[in-house]
């Protein structure tokens, strides 16, 4: 069943077009990779789909509702409850411990402090960093920080995770371990994923791939101008 549908999504930065009418669907529990060369518009597409950026034209429907028409507050609430967002650099809050970072989305969604911490510890354990629960990001390696960030993106058990180059800052082995654990978790919970990457071995974790070139879907899959 389709969970998320983008139709003719268009977005420009000033006079520079970033997306030129993108159509895509994401099924329930499906992992879709969005790939293509640097500057092809894949991150912009992810930001539009997640409701972080507003598209200039086109429609983004989530569970059959046009979220492009929603207020900023409503879209922000959606991101806290049903969407999980993950970036290349974990973007953990530096003043908070790992457990506090992971518990944060639950607290914002109204969970109690004790309940949120318990859930955070479960997710940190799942990603092999439970022993870092009381450490701040500054005392962790990049790989450890990214494991915490993945735990934070999944702790609310979102329906869709938007991941923008989630392993881009990690070495190959760390990247694989983080991604492998994330894919296993989302498969178990039936979470859909939009995975932005420019690396074929990362895209191979997805069920399907959409290749962009110059802000449009490239039917050749090569993402290179003829």
């Amino acid at each position: 069943m389709t969970l998320l549908t983008g139709t003719a999504i268009t977005k420009s930065y000033g006079t520079t077009p970033a997306l030129r009418g993108i159509d895509l669907t994401v099924g329930e529990g499906e992992i879709v990779a969005v790939t293509g060369p640097s500057g092809c518009g894949k991150s912009t597409l992810l930001h539009c789909l997640a409701g972080i950026l507003r598209a200039d034209a086109g429609e983004i429907r989530y569970r059959d509702q046009d979220i492009g028409l929603w207020s900023e507050a409503a879209r922000s609430r959606l991101r806290r409850t049903e969407f999980g967002v993950l970036f290349q650099f974990g973007q953990l809050v530096p003043e908070l411990t790992a457990a506090e970072n992971v518990a944060l989305p639950l607290l914002l969604a109204g969970s109690g402090r004790r309940e949120a911490r318990a859930a955070a510890l479960v997710w940190l354990d799942r990603f092999g960093v439970a022993d870092l629960a009381d450490k701040r990001p500054g005392a962790m390696s990049g790989g450890e920080q990214q494991r915490c960030a993945v735990a934070r993106a999944l702790v609310t058990e979102p329906r869709v995770v938007f991941a923008d180059e989630p392993t881009g800052a990690l070495d190959q082995l760390n990247g694989e371990q983080v991604l492998g654990a994330m894919v296993q978790a989302v498969r178990e919970q039936g979470t859909s994923v939009v995975l932005v990457t420019h690396e074929a071995p990362i895209a191979a974790y997805a069920d399907r791939e959409i290749v962009l070139r110059d802000g449009a879907v490239d039917p050749t899959g090569l993402g290179v101008a003829p």
């Binding site: 074929a200 974790y205 899959g221 090569l222 290179v224």
Partner: protein, 178 residues
């Protein structure tokens, strides 16, 4: 890489004799082992026996008499079939991939070369997904993961090569046509 198919591709532009085919092969596929004359004539003999080429005349310009060969209809069909196929995605096939690109340019045009690269890329991505499924399966052993990693690394190298080659098809066509 198949020498027979490369010779068919070299004959797609018109009749050539054995010496000319050897020279064109070595020039167009510099990464391949130079063809021995014996191999050229043995391959032409097999292609003639199978009806893919036929003799088109004798040429005695400034030297010994040479037999020219021309592609038959069956030969053109065989060449076309080969260009439609993709290599089984496996490590160390870059030389075979490169041969197909060059032959597609010799026998057809840049669009044909691009169509081939596109199909090959899709086959490689499918294999990459299969290998990723193998290594992430719950019962996968470390040996399975390591073996899959090796193949994934090589397929990734091929894919990077496919992308950059696609961007260079137009330049390569100029070189091949020169």
């Amino acid at each position: 890489m198949s020498t027979a198919h490369v010779l068919l591709g070299l004959l797609a532009g018109g009749p050539r004799h054995g010496y000319d085919l050897k020279r064109a092969h070595d020039e167009r596929l510099p990464q391949a082992k130079p063809l021995a004359f014996g191999q050229v004539y043995a391959t032409l003999g097999r292609l003639e026996r199978d009806g893919f080429v036929e003799q088109s005349g004798q040429d005695q310009e400034s030297g010994p008499e040479r037999t020219s060969y021309v592609l038959t209809e069956a030969g053109r069909t065989r060449l076309d079939e080969w260009l439609t196929e993709v290599e089984p995605p496996a490590p160390h096939v870059t030389s075979a991939l490169f041969s197909r690109v060059v032959v597609a340019l010799l026998a057809a045009d840049a669009d044909r070369a691009r169509a081939y690269l596109t199909a090959q890329r899709a086959a490689h991505m499918t294999r990459l997904r299969e290998l990723t499924s193998i290594k992430t399966a719950s019962g996968a052993t470390v040996g399975d993961v390591i073996a899959a990693d090796y193949a994934i690394g090589h397929l990734d190298a091929d894919l990077r090569w496919l992308h950059t080659t696609l961007a260079r098809v137009a330049d390569l066509q100029k070189e091949v046509a020169a």
